[in-house]
């Protein structure tokens, strides 16, 4: 295991910042999960999860992402990864995340390789470690990884290829930190008020959602006024009362006076499983409809991480309506991924310089 010993002062500061926001168990879990992703200066050298980062660190990511927009709000190219090789390792299918990562990598001038893992060596029984070591030997600098097992990105960063910047593109039900940060960038740019004054409603399958976990962590660190989660009991994780959120089972009560409504995707395999009745009932009880949006604040924004099931978790008229910022989320996703890729590469270079690895 790589020893990522940190400046004790930095650790102490981060832990005390965390314990103001989270209960003591959560603060401890956050710190231990976050430790491997930071270098000695507290800069990210992997991006594994939002848990454990400070408000300043999240704001630095948002600021970096905003620097990739020009005065007209158009994305710019910035060749910060020229000469670097980024490998996109998607052990699970993805369209949006993978494509926006690829766009971000190309805008940074990196050499991009998409490795189709589903059709490659892991199917032949090669272990994950052997696959990664082989790819490392092909001179990769950054791995962007999506994997169905929670903790896969942590495993790679701590036990397999610690000298390669690992960017978590989604691990199991655990975390989807670039989605969490692009949601924060979107709120920062589109929401009517600053984070401290916002009431945010997260509606849908919280239990199986890595997006919800990353969003909740980020919103708490950024200090929003209130986070409400709305779902039937079958779609709430055990211990939800310890997440520091308000739990609602009735959506009509919960959306009142909200500034941000975030829908979550209901995966097709959940519909008709013991977790929920038919999709029609779900839409009736938990769908984001124009009537429900009308109960939120008049300038509230509506978000969804995609891909959407129109008519299941969100009405088409809302998804395409004036309060929807769903397509802006996609665009912001490119800027956030550019920011995280660039910052992690920088943090990894600092780490390697300090340890004589360059």
């Amino acid at each position: 295991m790589t020893d990522s010993t940190q400046n004790p002062e930095t650790v102490a500061q981060e832990q005390s910042a965390q314990s103001d926001i989270f209960d003591s168990t959560t603060a401890r879990l956050n710190a231990s999960l976050s430790k491997p992703q930071l270098n000695e200066d507290g800069h990210i050298r992997h991006f594994l999860g939002i848990e454990g980062l400070s408000r300043e660190q999240l704001k630095a990511i948002i600021a970096k992402a905003e620097s990739f927009f020009d005065a007209n709000g158009q994305l710019i190219n910035s060749p910060e990864l020229e000469g670097c090789t980024v490998m996109n390792l998607f052990f699970e299918p993805s369209t949006r995340t993978r494509t926006t990562f690829e766009v971000a990598e190309k805008r940074l001038g990196a050499n991009v390789l998409n490795i189709d893992i589903a059709r490659s060596s892991t199917q032949k029984g090669e272990s994950l470690r052997d696959t990664l070591w082989n790819l490392q030997a092909m001179t990769a600098d950054i791995f962007v990884v999506r994997h169905s097992a929670s903790g896969a990105a942590h495993f790679m960063a701590t036990e397999v290829t610690p000298e390669i910047a690992i960017i978590n593109g989604g691990d199991g039900w655990h975390a989807h930190p670039t989605q969490g940060m692009l949601d924060m960038l979107t709120i920062h740019r589109e929401a009517p008020r600053p984070f401290e004054e916002l009431t945010v409603a997260i509606i849908g399958d919280i239990k199986h959602s890595r997006v919800a976990r990353s969003d909740i962590a980020a919103l708490k660190i950024l200090g929003v006024k209130e986070i409400r989660v709305i779902a039937p009991r079958t779609l709430l994780p055990k211990g939800i009362e310890r997440y520091g959120v308000e739990v609602y089972e009735n959506i009509d009560e919960s959306v009142v006076d909200c500034d941000v409504l975030m829908g979550l995707r209901i995966q097709n395999e959940r519909i008709g499983s013991p977790l929920m009745a038919a999709s029609g009932e779900y839409f009736k009880k938990y769908g984001i409809t124009p009537e429900r949006v009308a109960k939120a604040k008049p300038d509230a924004i509506v978000m969804h991480p995609g891909p959407m099931n129109r008519g299941v978790e969100i009405a088409s008229s809302v998804a395409d309506g004036p309060q929807s910022v769903i397509l802006k989320q996609v665009n912001n996703g490119i800027a956030i991924r550019m920011a995280v890729l660039s910052m992690a590469m920088q943090g990894q270079r600092e780490y390697q310089a300090l340890h004589g690895l360059l």
């Binding site: 691990d171 655990h174 211990g239």
Partner: protein
């Protein structure tokens, strides 16, 4: 020196050592030695030696090896090899159902003839409750005891950790208490109906202790044990996706651990087993849920036992009951146990570091690796 040998044991001729304990040999109610079929993780020789040096002269092992232990004629050879290569007395649980598939009885009469001490389905599911009922009736016909590792598969499917905040936080799929208690309830009712003697191994939850208390108060012929690590670790130890703490049944909550300790003190829990499951390094070198569950427990067992005494959970006398005498009675090997005799000398204060080198088991898979523990078997007096 505290002499804890039962009166009918032959006393070894040794110089009394200050602050040491003299115990009868340990009897383990559940350890997997990985032979036959899984020698990459351990062998009768490697695990036998590890057991013996750590005080276990008698080891009970379940039949889920490869091939499955469902043929009486296999057992004798296995016992002989365990004695020859590993220096331990192996006591074998035969398969309750053919190929452990939970569909029809295995040749349990033949297994009994081959010397199995009891039968079990080794935690594998039964096709339905009727199969469970009939196979128990069949085994009871031949006077065999049954071992259960209660688990309702439809409730635990896909789960890798105790269903609670720690699992939710890490995005790991949970195993609810109900997976254990629903199965345990059914099995207790089947015991009541069939009258078969039953032992329940590796209980983990508070409600299970309540159910066992009820069963014992009804006079059912039941006993139960807990794995040593459950008394010292909780789901908190999964922190940071620690695959070394991945074990099935899973490490439970603090509340459960307190209930287990209470059950141990008041006698509801009869014994403590090792639930030793050695694994090679590769087995844990994967993301948490894709790694192999199991903890290598022989080497840390006595240190953790000593901690129970230091923490005033058990007196030294009660400890001997839970890790030597009660397991021998439950395994039905009391006469043999006394005849073979032997003794172990324990230094309850000796501090030592758990390292790959100090561990004798071939499996170095333990969350205690690199921890300093207190208490060790320093000498064995075996035949």
């Amino acid at each position: 020196m505290l002499n804890l040998l039962p009166k009918d044991f032959t006393q070894p001729h040794i110089e009394p050592k200050k602050d040491h304990w003299l115990l009868p040999p340990l009897v383990d109610l559940c350890a997997r030695l990985r032979e036959p079929g899984l020698q990459q993780h351990g062998t009768l020789q490697s695990e036998g030696h590890a057991a013996r040096a750590n005080g276990f002269l008698h080891v009970v092992t379940p039949p889920d090896t490869n091939p499955i232990l469902e043929n009486g004629s296999l057992l004798k050879g296995l016992r002989e090899r365990a004695k020859q290569d590993g220096g331990i007395y192996l006591h074998i649980l035969g398969a309750l159902t053919a190929e452990l598939k939970g569909e029809r009885p295995a040749n349990v009469a033949g297994l009994k003839k081959g010397g199995c001490i009891a039968v079990t389905n080794a935690g594998r599911p039964f096709a339905n409750d009727l199969v469970l009922l009939r196979t128990l009736e069949y085994a009871a016909t031949f006077g065999l005891k049954v071992f259960f590792y209660p688990n309702e598969p439809s409730l635990s499917a896909g789960g890798v950790a105790h269903e609670g905040y720690i699992a939710s936080f890490h995005g790991l799929q949970g195993i609810p208490w109900l997976a254990e208690t629903v199965a345990l309830s059914t099995q207790l009712l089947m015991v009541e109906e069939t009258g078969i003697a039953a032992h329940f191994s590796q209980l983990t939850c508070k409600s299970s202790i309540g159910l066992m208390r009820w069963a014992k108060s009804q006079g059912l012929p039941v006993t139960c044990d807990v794995a040593m690590h459950q008394l010292h670790l909780t789901d908190d130890n999964l922190e940071g996706f620690n695959a070394q703490a991945y074990v099935i049944p899973p490490l439970r909550s603090n509340t459960d651990q307190k209930a287990l300790i209470k059950g141990l003190k008041d006698g509801t829990i009869d014994a403590i087993c090792s639930h030793h499951e050695p694994l090679n390094d590769t087995a844990k070198q994967a993301p948490f849920a894709e790694s192999t569950p199991g903890i290598s427990n022989f080497d840390t067992f006595m240190a953790l036992a000593c901690k129970l005494v230091r923490d005033d959970v058990l007196t030294p006398e009660e400890l001997v009951e839970k890790i030597c005498l009660a397991p021998a009675r439950i395994a039905g090997i009391e006469t043999q146990y006394k005849q073979i005799g032997g003794a172990i000398l324990v230094d309850p204060n000796q501090q030592w570091q758990v390292t790959r080198d100090t561990m004798l088991s071939k499996g170095k898979n333990t969350p205690f690796l690199n921890h300093t523990l207190q208490g060790k078997v320093v000498e064995t007096y075996f035949d």
